[in-house]
Symmetry: C3
Subunit: 224 residues, 3 copies
Amino acid sequence: MLTLLDLAGVFVFAVSGALTASRKELDLVGFAFIATVTGLGGGTLRDLLLDLGPVFWVHKPHYLLVTTIAAVLVFFTAHRVEVRYRLLMWADALGLALFCVVGARIARDAGAPFPVAVLMGMTSAVVGGLLRDIICNELPLVLRRELYWTPALLGAVVAIGLDGLGLPPAVGGLFGFAAAFALRAAALLFDLALPAYKPRPGRAWGREVPASALRATGGRPQTP
Amino acid sequence: MLTLLDLAGVFVFAVSGALTASRKELDLVGFAFIATVTGLGGGTLRDLLLDLGPVFWVHKPHYLLVTTIAAVLVFFTAHRVEVRYRLLMWADALGLALFCVVGARIARDAGAPFPVAVLMGMTSAVVGGLLRDIICNELPLVLRRELYWTPALLGAVVAIGLDGLGLPPAVGGLFGFAAAFALRAAALLFDLALPAYKPRPGRAWGREVPASALRATGGRPQTP
Amino acid sequence: MLTLLDLAGVFVFAVSGALTASRKELDLVGFAFIATVTGLGGGTLRDLLLDLGPVFWVHKPHYLLVTTIAAVLVFFTAHRVEVRYRLLMWADALGLALFCVVGARIARDAGAPFPVAVLMGMTSAVVGGLLRDIICNELPLVLRRELYWTPALLGAVVAIGLDGLGLPPAVGGLFGFAAAFALRAAALLFDLALPAYKPRPGRAWGREVPASALRATGGRPQTP
């Protein structure tokens, strides 16, 4: 079950990676490399940090098969999709919701305490997409205003929280996934966001700045 | 003692991470994630490279507590600070000076030879801030003109050099920290820099370029 | 033999790193750090993923010596080179061809299945340069149009393919290296490229766009 979820997460993240490769107009080998890094990056870092031996895909080449299939699929069909950027967002959201659950559980099984397991869930969920954006020179999704880390945090907490109450794994998995996906979906659909840090107008940088000047620069005084 | 220094280094680096998050106007969860990556990134890479088992914070969740506290603190107080960018620089400088000593010593204890231990000190000191800048899409501090790597190098050399002479750890630690911090502080205050590489005017790119043209582009001919 | 090739690969990649540092006008310590990251980055990630214990250079400080020598050499001579950017490309190409063979073989020796070993060859060959470009804030070479991943893929496949046929290591190594280098050289000399993904004009983004408008933006409609 965990394996199946994991494969599904790898696939959708690989799709998101290949879609980013399509924005950069890479060739097929580039598609496959970016898809692989995006699909496997988060889990790989998790395994490295937990010291789980060779990372999970080293002796399971079918993971590479999955990411390569995703890359080929996107390479030959993406031009038919009318809203590739939206698709990228949704593939990323699915991967996020799947991996925060899987990652947190693997960490828990490896003996990590609760807060560390939550961070590992977030790491699994966020790092693949982060590497995708950094390698492809895109503005990292994690810097966008709508909720991104919080859904991953929520999904991880719900999943291993319910596990901790002794409920069957299917329950924790389902609720964790649903919570993370619902929150991220709401963020995408309604631009949902936590209150972001905002330098207080007039206090920022220790001098009075007229509100109008602030508005022109998006609430931020010009000087670094 | 090493643990206390380590925690202090994690805290100040986490503060620098949270300050960068404030420049990006992230939400509280984003603050916590960036603070954690900045505070723990350098030591994490060090532990991975030395193969020290699960990285140091996996079974010590209080490290996450420290980075989260730093994030919350900065989130709710940074707008009161008049010179946040300067504060970021100084928090980063403190972290640098603490981690180059701690990192080099941990590597030495793990049996690494002298030059490798020095590099591990530099890695611990530099990588957290580097990840912070890359994830937040800021120009990496390491590319700035004033001394950055050299203080880390100096601190590591002094600390494990004095240790090697058989002096008590407090001596090496104190002098290593002081040397690194003093040099970095001098760099910040007086724009201190080693001679940087400069393409020789008139020789560069194999053709004569008038000195005036070079000056206009900061000493660099226009073409790549 | 493997060690010698490895050292040669480290040296040329270190040179490419130092050349990038020269474009950024860093100081000597910065040169050494970037040269080291570029020279050792790919093999380091390979060793981490395969869980081969402390990474290869931790107990072999002569690797650091090699990268430092490369840095010093470039620092004091690069201004005499008339075509530093071209040199960077060729040093990178040499490193790529050497590391795809070495990396794939080390993975094979560690028991990785064929496709994973190929990916490890590509990782060794590509990651050092990728880190160099990301740290130095340059457009990653991997995003350029001419063949970059494919030569690494080819070299790895040829080398461990011939090894698998029972031929002596020198044969597989030579042919793998030659194949990768020839293909990358051809890419550099003739702008050789695989067909890149191109959004189909008129279908892209689900609306008719006049071909002329597409041409003006390099075949891409303006909106994200």
